[in-house]
Subunit: 171 residues, 2 copies
């Protein structure tokens, strides 16, 4: 029982960035970003929404959430409870020649190679100084260093009314 409880705590302790900077696909390989690990099974989580960042990021992204995240979005009961994890996956933005041929015009852009995965993990005590959120970033399963995460919270501050989360649920 203790072992089970410890595992659950370890999973919940996984944190992250759903920040708006650059970030890689995710294997839950056990390395931590500022104490936060990629949660096992995050690729199976339910979809919150999708986005395209143009410019230098030039990616397509999907934002997934664990059960606490999805339930909070659907019930519209902010703030997100402790244990919430939001995962932002991103892939390079590439034209699909195969799709364009089928459409008969150049219009289709699909997910290419993974760029990075960013996480936001809610723990109102542990991360009290940053709105209750821990931020992390992983590229090819490898965690980003501390310097890369410095801007996460300040970037998310304008979204304070939405508990520091930019992504809205796609109905």
């Amino acid at each position: 029982m203790k072992r089970i409880a410890f595992t659950l705590v370890a999973v919940v302790a996984v944190a992250g960035i759903a920040a708006l900077t650059a970030c890689a696909s995710g294997r839950a390989d056990g390395e931590a970003s500022l104490g936060i690990k990629l949660p096992p099974g995050y690729r199976d989580w339910r979809l919150i929404s999708v986005a395209h960042e143009a410019g230098s990021l030039n990616d397509l992204r999907a934002v997934l959430g664990n059960d606490a995240a999805i339930e909070t979005y659907r019930k519209e009961t902010l703030p997100f409870p402790d244990g919430t994890i939001i995962a932002r996956l991103a892939w390079s933005y590439v034209p699909s020649e195969e799709n364009n041929k089928a459409f008969g015009r150049e219009q289709s852009f699909v997910a290419g190679a993974p760029t990075n995965v960013q996480l936001m993990v809610k723990d109102s005590k542990k991360y009290a100084a940053t709105g209750g959120w821990g931020f992390a970033q992983f590229k090819g399963g490898k965690p980003a260093d501390e310097a890369a995460l410095k801007g996460c919270f300040s970037c998310h501050e304008p979204a304070k009314a939405n508990d520091f989360v930019f992504t809205h649920y796609a109905h």
Copy 2:
């Protein structure tokens, strides 16, 4: 028991388009598109990939799959088995002023209002004439009429080597 079996068959009989034409968000409200209904809980399915269609479609899309779809993608064991359902959700492609402010530049596009939902349902006997796939489309939960679905299979034919499915799994 018979009632349970019937319900399962009805769910599996839900079919669709992951076609490349225009399509709406999904409520599983019970109306059928060519005999195919929106499967309950499809919004909770796991993510296959994401895409952006520019031009007149001008949408962001997520392709979700039921368990059979996801397992087949991950194991790379084409063809998809009977019972597979692939759901293509799409939303209008809208700039996010909120995100652009945080980035300090105009680069962010997010999911706006839902446009439509397209389904592909595998039943190799029932849909033998169309590669084993049934196609359907729903807008605001309402099924498209037959005329709107005529082009589905011919459009998907070029993807025959991938069992008529265009979307590749986003790792």
